[in-house]
């Protein structure tokens, strides 16, 4: 098994542009993106992301990792059009992000299901908003529920489901829109380890099935290595730049258990963890902000 690491060290100058090794067309292009917003809490302008540049190639699963508060979740909100960005270029499937778009779905950290709707109607929510004919919605939702293994629970209400099942519904709702890019914000972080593994396998299987491109934010190093083809490492604090891009050459179509037993798994996790750890002192040393 090829366990050689392809780690690109971060360059000192954030302005220098670098692109991830791309295979084929890019699903997401991020070029010198800066994000900030007026924070009611701080009562001032808050700079979350200073200059971010990386790409997500077609049919890949990219994990965005970085220390807490590095702006990775904020960045994801910008990609799905919920938050504007101040400068730079942000292209999904070749077109600039100007607001929420139908071809870009989000799986939120918590299930965000409407408690007054059945699982079926939650999953079909996006289609319903778009005025899709009822029969078509039913077909598509049925198909999605099949895919995530919730067919039996179509008529249930969210509070009747376990946390893992709610998260499956969350995933099904995102997939129902048939997105070109799936954005996931620490989707499994609230689940117990067993459920997390099961859902991770499910995600990998669905991904092979649909050839979906995924950008996933996580702060769990092992999760990033288990799932991703490529890890993008952000530096600490406001003004995060890509610290490095790390390929995870563990092969496609693997289950998380298989991955854990590969010889390359341990070193990769260690490598990534070291990279993240190295970011901590860099923060205290940088008096630049």
């Amino acid at each position: 098994m090829d366990s050689e690491l392809a780690v690109t060290a971060a360059t000192a100058t954030p302005t220098q542009q670098r692109t991830a090794p791309a295979a084929g067309p890019l699903k997401l292009e991020v070029e010198d993106v800066g994000i900030g917003y007026f924070s009611q809490r701080h009562g001032s302008f808050f700079e979350a992301v200073r200059s971010l540049t990386f790409n997500v190639p077609d049919d890949s699963l990219v994990a965005l990792v970085g220390p807490t508060g590095c702006g990775k979740s904020t960045f994801l909100r910008s990609v799905c059009g919920l938050l504007g960005y101040q400068h730079g270029r942000l292209l999904v499937d070749g077109s600039a992000v100007t607001g929420p778009r139908a071809d870009c779905s989000v799986v939120f950290q918590s299930p965000a299901l409407m408690p007054w709707r059945t699982v079926e109607r939650n999953v079909g929510y996006g289609l319903e908003l778009r005025g899709t004919p009822k029969a078509e919605v039913r077909d598509r939702v049925g198909h999605m529920l099949d895919m995530v293994g919730l067919s039996k629970f179509a008529e249930h209400y969210p509070h009747q489901l376990s946390g893992g099942m709610q998260q499956r519904a969350n995933l099904a709702r995102a997939l129902a829109n048939d997105p070109v890019l799936l954005l996931m914000d620490e989707p499994f972080s609230a689940l117990d380890p067993q459920t997390r593994d099961r859902l991770s396998d499910e995600l990998l299987r669905i991904r092979e099935l649909t050839k979906l491109t995924v950008l996933m934010v996580t702060h769990q190093v092992d999760e990033a290595v288990l799932l991703a083809d490529q890890c993008v490492v952000l530096s600490r604090g406001p003004g995060s730049v890509v610290e490095g891009v790390m390929d995870i050459p563990l092969g496609r179509g693997r289950t998380v258990d298989e991955t854990r037993h590969q010889s390359g798994y341990g070193p990769l996790v260690r490598q990534l963890r070291d990279m993240l750890r190295a970011l901590e002192p860099a923060e205290s040393a940088s008096g630049g902000r």
Partner: protein, 281 residues
């Protein structure tokens, strides 16, 4: 109570008859109904004491009447044509006023809750009018609308619009921001967002606002009829009864108005259950 062994949870459960060990089925049956039994007992005691006090001459019957006299007066009143007329006058005034306040309260509450600036803009005004004794506005309303139904409707509106408005606003504020985020990421338009997320999310609080509005509105309609009733209405008849020292008639009116309030609240409860089926399923 039965003793409980710590490691056997099955023992903590009730037996086949539904009674814990050591408790007779009769006692259990009573225990289940204790709130109803004790509550009813209190009412009966008050009625008996009232009756005894009136019959024994401890109190002046002219002013305090007695339960039997009230029951008789109520029956006499209910069987008259005046009652039907009073009921429809009061009922319609109340319903018109309540409907107006529901529409205005929900629309304004939504606007104030959803658009921060609208909320800031109207906040002081709403608080000011809400804090003022609106009952004291009846004379002014009479000046504006004269004697009759319009004044009644205006009074009901003033009394019941605020609980609806304020609860709708808090309801909108309490909608899970994550659901709003989710809907926005799904490209929901503003109207879709309000229809599919904000309104259903705020509904429990809107309904508890309506419950308060019913109580307040009833006060409004009766007070308005006391002062501005023209020829019929429960409040108008009560006022007339008071002027001719007919205490039983007054109490009868009171009971009937309370009953109306109870009926309206029960209807609302059915509505609530209809809207919140998902909670119990």
């Amino acid at each position: 109570m039965s003793t409980v062994t710590s490691e056997a949870p099955a023992d903590r459960q009730v037996g086949a008859s539904g009674a814990p060990r050591g408790m007779s089925p009769w006692r259990l049956r009573y225990r289940r109904r204790e709130p109803i039994v004790l509550g009813t007992l209190c009412l009966i005691l008050v009625l008996v004491a009232w009756q005894v006090a009136a019959d024994a001459g401890w109190v002046n019957k002219l002013f305090v009447s007695s339960p039997t006299d009230v029951a008789r007066a109520m029956w006499d009143y209910i069987t008259t044509a005046q009652f039907a007329k009073d009921l429809s006058t009061t009922g319609l005034t109340f319903i018109y006023g309540l409907l107006l306040s529901l529409v205005a309260g929900i629309v304004l509450g939504l606007l104030m809750g959803w658009y921060k600036r609208v909320g800031f803009f109207l906040d002081y005004l709403v608080s000011l009018v809400y804090a003022s004794p609106r009952i004291a506005l009846v004379p002014l309303l009479i000046l504006w609308f004269g004697i009759g139904r319009t004044t009644g409707i205006a009074m009901v509106f003033l009394m019941s619009v605020f609980p609806v408005l304020i609860n709708t606003m808090t309801g909108v504020h309490s909608v899970d921001p994550l659901l709003i985020e989710m809907a926005r990421s799904q490209k929901a338009s503003r109207l879709q967002l309000i229809r599919t997320v904000v309104l259903p999310g705020a509904l429990p609080q809107v309904l508890s606002g309506v419950r308060l509005a019913i109580g307040n509105g009833l006060i409004g309609v009766v007070v308005a009829e006391f002062l501005a009733g023209s020829s019929s209405g429960l409040g108008f008849t009560m006022q007339a009864a008071a002027q001719s020292f007919e205490a039983p008639q007054l109490f009868a009116g009171l009971v009937i108005i309370s009953a109306l309030g109870l009926i309206a609240t029960q209807l609302l409860r059915i509505l609530e259950r209809r809207f919140q089926r998902w909670r119990t399923s």
